[in-house]
């Protein structure tokens, strides 16, 4: 993949994610998703539990469709709604990546805290506060 293609791919992924996030930010729409995650349903079934007009619920459904979270197909005269799990996978992916990233960073942070503690014990000459800038010659691990 070229750099430009990679950037395009990242940009469209970002746009998709943003659309999904915006769609999920509303409590009514989250309730609709929860409903559909149990099983697919007709538009009228989805609208039933809400204290709002079918029209208002339809608006929310359209936002969910535009974001790609919900898909609509026809069975005879009925419009059936279902969840597009792939769109949620992307969001899930972002959350997983972010969590992993910070878990690793915090491990490294704790590692450095242990290292600094050792340095404080080992070298009263180059105490921690005296010269944090001139740390003892950058440690040069092999790889």
């Amino acid at each position: 993949m070229t750099g430009i293609e990679a950037r395009k791919e990242a940009a469209s992924r970002t746009a998709r994610l943003d659309a999904v996030f915006a769609a999920l930010a509303d409590p009514t729409r989250r309730a609709i998703i929860e409903r559909l995650s149990r099983r697919e349903a007709r538009v009228t079934e989805v609208a039933e539990p809400f204290q709002m007009s079918l029209n208002a619920v339809s608006k929310h459904i359209r936002v969910l469709e535009a974001s790609g979270v919900v898909e609509r197909h026809r069975k005879g005269r009925d419009h059936i709604l279902s969840i597009n799990t792939r769109s949620l996978d992307e969001v899930d992916g972002w959350i997983g990546r972010t969590r992993r990233y910070w878990e690793e960073r915090l491990d490294a942070m704790e590692g450095l805290l242990r290292e600094l503690k050792k340095e404080r014990k080992a070298g009263p000459r180059s105490g921690p506060r005296s010269g944090a800038k001139s740390r003892p010659k950058d440690r040069q691990h092999g790889s």
Partner: protein
């Protein structure tokens, strides 16, 4: 559409750390210390950090390992040493979209309870300091989706 009501999902980590809150806070805000742990590359890494520690001030991290390079940048939103640090974060992890990171440190004797929150927010929400969370809805959804798939 409906951008004003959008809040992003939250990733939150909690840890009890064996160090004082001041020392931890400094690891996050002093460039010479940031450079020693913030790079995600294993092994030998050249990491340059800069930090203008004041609200609205910028920080940056440039991490280079072989021919891979990662740049992260952001702006400090709130600085309350040693208890709280809020900053925006933009880098490869966030597809170069602005996100918000909140570090909270709660001293517990010799140790510190650390809570790290990473939120994906529309920029307007960041500017307005509007950071209403929405819990673990996505974790919940992901779990349901996974279950459905195995069924």
């Amino acid at each position: 559409m409906a951008r004003d009501e959008a809040t992003g999902p939250i990733v939150q980590l909690r840890r009890r750390v064996k160090a004082g809150a001041e020392e931890i806070f400094d690891l996050w805000t002093k460039p010479e210390l940031m450079a020693r742990w913030m790079s995600p590359f294993p092994g030998a890494v050249a990491c340059k950090a800069s930090a203008d520690l004041r609200p609205g001030g910028a920080f940056s991290l440039a991490m280079i390992s072989g021919d891979s390079r990662r740049d992260v940048s952001g702006t400090y939103v709130q600085i309350d040493r040693p208890r709280k640090l809020v900053f925006t974060w933009m880098g490869p992890l966030t597809n170069n979209v602005n996100t918000l990171v909140t570090l909270e440190l709660d001293p517990r004797g010799d140790e510190t309870d650390l809570v790290l929150t990473h939120e994906r927010l529309p920029t307007t929400a960041i500017v307005e300091g509007h950071t209403k969370g929405w819990g673990n809805i996505l974790d919940h959804l992901a779990a349901m989706v996974a279950k459905g798939r195995h069924a």
